[in-house]
């Protein structure tokens, strides 16, 4: 059986009729006892299982997913990867993710198609440019690569922008993180799943948590639609459904669930080779490797668990996109979708042990979870293996909502993310 992906194995299998490939991950029967259980088969959960095995040698791990892996927000995002954040705590956590992303294809032996095409944030007024420069200073002090761009530089980078004299959102300059870009979202999920499975993790799909086993005030495992599984440590990484699991465990979270929509156009020839974010329209656009224009924008206005999205916000996003790129006006939309994101008052993640001892969580990434997957996995794995915070995750503990030491990236970064 061919296990390792390489040009040589592709050549070899080509001669052998492609008959020797083994499934990318095993689908074993659940066992009654594990050393650790991870709930949620999205990027964060799969990364947690992988790093538990790789970094900590904990391989007797179950990963439980109620649907299919990568079928939630990991398959519903706009694939943007960046780490240009305002607060040092955020720069540390997103910087860790970004660093790991850069080496992830080699680490997982799975091409995640990381494309460091740059992430450009526009400034639409003189004052907008001054604010951008101030934010940029903080980002640079945090050690994250980021530069200020003049109007001429932005024009060279994005010739298809609406540069006419009557543009509703004229551009005065911008900031760019050149090491940012996009990655193939499915490949991130599948790559982590394959690598975790090969290290011994049991990936169990169609397995929904119905209850937690609580004995002596501690979480001792889970009751699922595929039976009961016990473990001394359980971690959850379920994004927009965090409050649902928290209710089963007997506590509440500072989380509001909203639908976040995105859409793609029909594919066209390459016309945009960077990610463009407009703080004023709230819209961001990139072009996928297949040529589709990938369009994202603001949250829906109505708290929701419906993975569809509402039309008024989609209309606003597309209107903003057309103001920015009138040249795209003739394109047809191919697909529209929504993921349920976990929005927290300070737009920063919540990582740590929950009020139910033995149960750990990684949630609250809101609209920016994809870019953080390797860090979310590393930090939750560290918690599950050691029972203690990694230095990088400590500021993101749930207790910040009592102490008041919030990490307010909604204010710091100036845009929802």
């Amino acid at each position: 059986m061919t296990r390792r992906y390489s040009a040589f194995s592709l050549f070899k299998e080509g001669l052998a009729g492609q008959a020797g490939w083994e499934p990318a991950w095993r689908s074993p029967q659940p066992k009654p006892r594990y050393d650790a259980i991870v709930i949620g088969g999205g990027g964060h959960g799969l990364a947690t299982a992988y790093y538990l095995a790789k970094n900590h040698g904990v391989t007797n791990v179950a990963l439980l997913e109620k649907g299919w892996i990568g079928g939630g927000n990991t398959g519903r995002n706009t694939t943007v990867v960046r780490s240009n954040y305002f607060y040092p705590e955020s720069a540390a956590i997103y910087g860790l993710a970004h660093t790991l992303y850069k080496g992830l294809s080699a680490d997982l032996n799975y091409n995640i198609m990381l494309s460091q095409r740059g992430v450009l944030t526009l400034a639409h007024s003189e004052t907008g440019l001054e604010t951008a420069a101030r934010t940029l200073n903080a980002i640079q002090v945090n050690g994250i690569d980021s530069e200020l761009l003049s109007l001429e530089e932005v024009k060279r980078l994005v010739p298809i922008y609406n540069w006419g004299p009557d543009a509703r959102y004229p551009v005065f300059g911008g900031t760019i993180q050149r090491s940012g870009g996009t990655a193939r979202h499915d490949a991130v999920a599948w790559g982590y799943a394959r690598a975790a499975s090969r290290l011994g993790v049991d990936i169990i799909q169609n397995c929904e948590i119905t209850d937690f086993i609580v004995e002596g005030g501690r979480c001792r495992g889970v009751v699922t639609t595929q039976g009961t599984m016990r473990a001394e440590r359980t971690g959850m990484a379920v994004a927009g459904h965090s409050s649902v699991l928290a209710a089963k465990a007997g506590f509440r979270l500072p989380v509001n669930s909203y639908a976040l929509q995105a859409c793609v156009s029909e594919p066209v020839k390459p016309i945009l080779d960077t990610v463009v974010i407009s703080p004023d329209t709230g819209v961001y656009v990139s072009q996928s490797d297949k040529g589709e224009m990938v369009i994202g924008g603001a949250l829906d206005r109505i708290p929701s668990y419906g993975q569809r999205g509402n039309l008024p916000v989609l209309e606003g996003v597309l209107a903003g996109m057309l103001d920015m790129f009138p040249v795209l006006g003739q394109l047809k939309l191919m697909r529209q979708w929504a993921g349920i994101v976990d929005v927290v008052p300070d737009s920063s993640p919540i990582i740590g042990e929950t009020p139910l001892p033995g149960l750990f969580m990684n949630c609250g990434w809101g609209t920016g979870g994809f870019k953080a997957i390797p860090a979310g996995g590393t930090l939750l794995a560290h918690l599950l293996a050691t029972g203690r915070h990694h230095d990088i995750s400590r500021p993101f503990h749930l207790d910040r909502f009592v102490t008041g030491r919030l990490i307010d990236e909604a204010a710091g970064s100036g845009i929802a993310h």
């Binding site: 509440r252 509001n256 669930s257 206005r301 109505i302 419906g306 009592v402």
Partner: protein, 89 residues
């Protein structure tokens, strides 16, 4: 475009409304409120999947009211003024 029922103006476009929070989240009273209770009031939410009761404001008439709806189907069960909601908990 969905229609939301304002108890004062009748069915109107959803874009005229703004979400105000979960119903029944009352501000703690008194001087000796512990930090945990403040955090609970300010930040912690039930955030239910399914049936929920919420406070919304109809921005065009400025009135706050209670709206019962489903967070998965988005189906609206009904709306009442806050005074009415207090009389029938």
């Amino acid at each position: 475009m969905q229609l939301f029922p304002c108890p004062f103006c009748g069915p109107r476009d959803e874009a005229e409304f703004h979400y105000g929070g979960e119903a029944g989240n009352l501000r703690p009273d008194g001087r000796e409120v512990p930090a945990e209770r403040w955090a609970d009031y300010l930040h912690m939410r039930a955030n239910p999947k399914g049936a929920t009761k919420e406070i919304w404001v109809h921005m065009t008439c400025g009135e706050f009211f209670a709206l019962a709806r489903d967070t998965v189907t988005h189906k609206v069960a009904g709306s009442v003024s806050l005074g009415e909601a207090e009389r029938q908990p």
